[in-house]
């Protein structure tokens, strides 16, 4: 999006939310108020339209056949080689997957599915260089950041939806997610699962993974989490989540800013002999730990076989321990996918 459009949108939004002087009519004169609203609407329309036009060629409808019939969702190109992000629930068993965009139709092959994040990677081979979406910076996403979803609702044409970030969540109604998700106040419809979620620069910041309350809002997997899946596939041919083999609990009083203390170390796990019960975890790789839920973000981005530094507090001492996560024991047996979502299915062996 051009700087001019961003500037005009910001100016219009600022004008819309500016505080009225004390004693003045908060609604302002009716005519000027209507003019402000009109400017805001035009600025939003312009910004969303620009994002939609720029990203539409990179967004595709993904259809698959499974034993229950045809399944339809949305996907988008992650690179020029025809790799597409979509949802594992869209591609099903991956035996018959097709990608359409306008009048064009390609058959696609399933590269990998990650049951932990719900992401799937598929690829089309005979489309030449494909347009793909640039990636945005997750650290800039905060409540009230404007976002656009571009996807295929039902059997309709490609459609944009506009809204704002409601929050960054790691759980909803007592169920914990695999990593932090963006909760977006954007209305979505069925068929839009797997859609790219974009900032106003047209950069993808996440993948739409689920609706909230019948599509009144949605949860978005950050693109960096989807990239972890793609990186693993590029390196190993499959997703390799790292496993430490520790159980933690929450302390009532934080130690050096963290409430996450190691409770049990699995003697057969890679952390055995390196960590002890009572060690307070302060940081895992780049993820600072403040509470046990931070383990979600810490563990999701671990890769089996990739060394990572873990900073802990042991008594009065503060130690940095190099540590190499292993593959989850159930993953080795191929049982991890069979478990699916359930009580402690992936995080607890």
């Amino acid at each position: 999006m051009s700087r001019l459009t961003v500037f005009s949108l910001c100016a219009a939004l600022a004008g819309a939310v500016q505080v009225s002087p004390v004693g003045a009519n908060p609604a302002g004169p009716p005519q000027s108020r209507a003019a402000d609203d009109s400017e805001v609407a035009e600025a939003i329309e312009s910004a969303v339209s620009e994002v939609f036009q720029a990203t539409a060629p990179s967004v595709v409808r993904v259809e698959s056949d499974d034993e229950l019939g045809k399944v339809s969702g949305t996907g988008f190109f992650a690179d020029a080689a025809g790799t597409i992000y979509t949802l594992a629930s869209v591609v099903g068993d991956g035996l018959s997957v097709a990608v359409t965009r306008g009048d064009q139709r390609w058959s696609a092959k399933l590269l990998t599915k990650d049951p932990r994040s719900g992401i799937a990677l598929i690829k089309i081979d005979d489309a030449g260089a494909t347009p793909f979406l640039e990636q945005g910076d997750f650290s800039e996403i905060k409540p009230a950041s404007p976002l656009v979803v571009v996807g295929y609702p039902f059997d309709h044409d490609l459609s944009p939806s506009f809204g704002v970030v409601g929050g960054l969540d790691r759980q909803s109604q007592g169920k914990f997610f695999t990593t932090t998700h963006i909760r977006a106040n954007i209305p979505v419809q069925r068929g839009q699962g797997g859609s790219p979620v974009l900032n106003l620069d047209g950069e993808v910041v996440g993948v739409l993974v689920s609706g909230i309350e019948d599509g009144a809002g949605c949860f978005v997997l950050p693109i960096r989490a989807a990239e972890k899946v793609r990186d693993d596939f590029a390196r190993f041919g499959d997703v390799r989540h790292g496993w430490a083999g520790v159980t933690v609990h929450e302390m009532p009083v934080p130690v050096k800013g963290s409430r996450m203390v190691i409770d049990v170390v699995d003697p057969s796990g890679p952390a055995s002999g390196q960590f002890r019960s009572g060690d307070v975890v302060l940081q895992v790789g780049d993820v600072a730990i403040r509470e046990p839920e931070d383990a979600l973000d810490a563990s999701f981005f671990l890769t089996a076989g990739d060394p990572v530094e873990v900073r802990i507090a042991r008594g009065e001492e503060e130690l940095t321990i190099p540590f190499t996560p292993a593959e989850h024991p159930l993953d080795k047996k191929g049982e991890l996918q069979a478990l699916g979502p359930g009580p402690g299915s992936l995080l607890a062996p």
Partner: protein, 140 residues
């Protein structure tokens, strides 16, 4: 009167059930009555209800046997007649417009509808109800 009994009766005089007891009494009574009822087999319940209903008409008990025998004979006649008819006869299963399911040979592990039939159904449009999620985050 025995002084011990007299003392006991005086004590009992002040022993009042709580208000909650009276409020719940009817509910508990009905729950237990229903629980007792559900212990009986279904055929027993049906028989009991039928005899109760028919009893209201003051029909002699032997008449039940006659009616039952007539019903059995009638059913048998209908079934025999149906059996002898051609497939063109009225049959919901035979005239079902839904497509058949082709079960592929064992080993393929796949059950699929014919493509022409499947295309008649609208696709399932995906939007999950919530992200992949778990009960406990305290282990990794």
């Amino acid at each position: 009167m025995n002084p011990d009994i007299h003392k006991l009766l005086r004590l009992k005089r002040y022993e009042q059930p709580t208000q909650d007891y009276f409020e719940r009494f009817l509910d508990e009574f009905q729950e237990r009555q229903r629980a007792e009822l559900l212990r009986q087999p279904t055929w027993s319940l049906l028989w009991e209800r039928m005899t109760d209903t028919l009893g209201n008409f003051h029909v002699p008990r032997l008449a039940y046997a006659g009616v039952a025998a007539a019903a059995v004979v009638l059913s048998a006649i209908i079934l025999v007649t149906q059996d002898g008819r051609s497939p063109a006869g009225p049959s919901l299963a035979l005239n079902d417009p839904r497509p058949t399911i082709n079960v592929l040979p064992p080993g393929n592990g796949d059950v699929r509808l014919p493509v022409s039939s499947r295309s008649e159904f609208p696709p399932h449009y995906v939007l999950e109800a919530r992200p992949v999620s778990y009960e406990s985050p305290y282990s990794f």
